[in-house]
């Protein structure tokens, strides 16, 4: 029952009386019960010292930082507390051997496509004209076996995302929130900006879950491993983007919880302002905490837990115990 903390105000994070203490610029002070904190997301400016980092490391709390525009900039990822040389070797093995890497990469794409299709079908049942998009997903899914490099898989996935994002216009049908086309760095319209922000939050959330397993976030399978960034969280996030991020966006836009007032134009792009980010994060957190019935273990689990379960399935695959099958959101 750990919590994610989201800090929007500027302030100082301290270790005080053996727990965490946040003093914001406007003078308000809060103790955070360290035993119940999973991670802290900083959207505002924060000052912290090594003392607090040492303490967070000891308590296995992650910090995620976002810049002025809400882009993810990085994390404080404390020394691994679940160390398994064996699993790391297996993970590297599955990356280095092309056939093995392809199996996993294909499953991540399959997971993403299946869940995109599930979302489209959901709205199709409710009378939205999405039959052609669903059909296209089907043909992408059928063609997956033929793709024999991760790059080819990425290309298929890219096309699928394009079609999926196009269908946002059908589902949302809101003058203020038109998709037109997917733009990043900078997002050129409001819907693009929501997608980018939601994906950033999801990447960080998956990273926090990876920390609680033996997996190494630096070795991804669909996304190439490089010198710069974590990639396993990007792989796993693909599966959950349609399930979590898009649904949060649909809920916000359809219920008019977010409007053009929540966006600012900066650097040639449109970005959520502080109020908008708060609204988004609240809805996102609510979604992560909400539960669904999970057949595999026959009880209700939260979406956050679902991410962890997905990681355990990957661990099992790497150890050769059970072949990995991506989650299909059937609810």
């Amino acid at each position: 029952m750990s919590e994610s903390i989201y800090a929007f105000s500027h302030g100082i994070l301290k270790r005080k009386q053996n727990t965490l203490f946040f003093e914001s610029q406007d003078g308000s002070q809060r103790y955070l019960p360290v035993e119940g904190v999973r991670d802290i997301h900083f959207f505002g400016e924060v000052t912290l010292n090594k003392e607090v980092l040492e303490f967070l490391s000891q308590k296995s709390v992650l910090l995620h930082f976002y810049n002025h525009y809400g882009y993810y900039v990085g994390s404080f990822y404390p020394r691994e507390h679940y160390n398994s040389g064996c699993l790391i070797l297996r993970q590297a093995e599955h990356y280095l051997e092309p056939e093995k890497r392809l199996v996993l990469a294909r499953q991540f794409v399959r997971g993403a496509l299946q869940n995109i299709q599930a979302v489209l079908k959901y709205y199709h049942r409710r009378g939205f004209a999405l039959a052609s998009a669903i059909g296209q997903m089907e043909s992408f899914l059928c063609g997956l076996e033929e793709q024999d490099t991760p790059d080819a898989l990425m290309a298929v996935e890219g096309n699928a995302w394009d079609i999926y994002y196009q269908s946002f216009d059908v589902i949302l049908n809101d003058q203020d929130f038109q998709m037109e086309k997917r733009t990043k760095r900078p997002p050129e319209n409001q819907l693009n900006s929501l997608i980018s922000f939601g994906n950033s939050l999801l990447y960080a959330a998956v990273l926090s879950e990876i920390y609680k397993t033996h997996l190494d976030p630096r070795i991804g399978f669909l996304h190439a491993t490089n010198f710069r960034r974590f990639s396993l969280n990007l792989d796993v996030a693909e599966i959950f983007k349609p399930v979590i991020v898009s649904r949060v966006i649909f809920a916000l836009v359809n219920k008019k919880a977010i409007s053009s007032r929540e966006f600012d134009e900066r650097l040639g792009g449109l970005y959520l302002n502080e109020r908008g980010r708060k609204v988004f994060v609240e809805k996102f957190e609510e979604k992560m905490k909400s539960t669904v019935n999970y057949k595999r273990i026959g009880r209700k689990v939260s979406y956050r837990r679902l991410i962890r379960l997905e990681l355990y399935k990957i661990e099992k695959h790497l150890l050769g115990e059970e072949e990995y099958q991506p989650l299909l959101a059937e609810w």
């Binding site: 800090a7 929007f8 727990t19 019960p33 035993e35 994060v281």
Partner: protein, 87 residues
């Protein structure tokens, strides 16, 4: 589960108890803390407290609720401690 912890301890130990409580729960009023906690963490909290209080003189009470669904929180006057996961 959700826990409300109230304590009445001798003055010299008030700070010690508060300090321990704050690691696990959120302070809401003098001598009152509350928050979501797991069973294991509650046991840890209790054992930490046991080491510090005098079992003859002090008392700490935990009100334990499996969920907060059937309870309601009403406040008169000011809300003293901050809650929620937004800063």
């Amino acid at each position: 589960m959700y826990v409300i912890m109230v304590y009445d301890v001798e003055e010299k130990r008030v700070n010690k108890v508060l300090k321990i409580g704050r690691k696990y729960l959120t302070w809401v009023q003098n001598s009152v803390l509350e928050g979501e906690i797991t069973e294991a963490r509650l046991e840890r909290l209790k054992s930490e407290l046991k080491r510090c209080i005098s079992e003859e003189k002090d008392s700490v009470i935990f009100y334990i609720m499996r969920t907060t669904k059937y309870s309601e929180r009403q406040i008169l006057g000011v809300e003293k401690g901050g809650k929620g996961n937004f800063l």
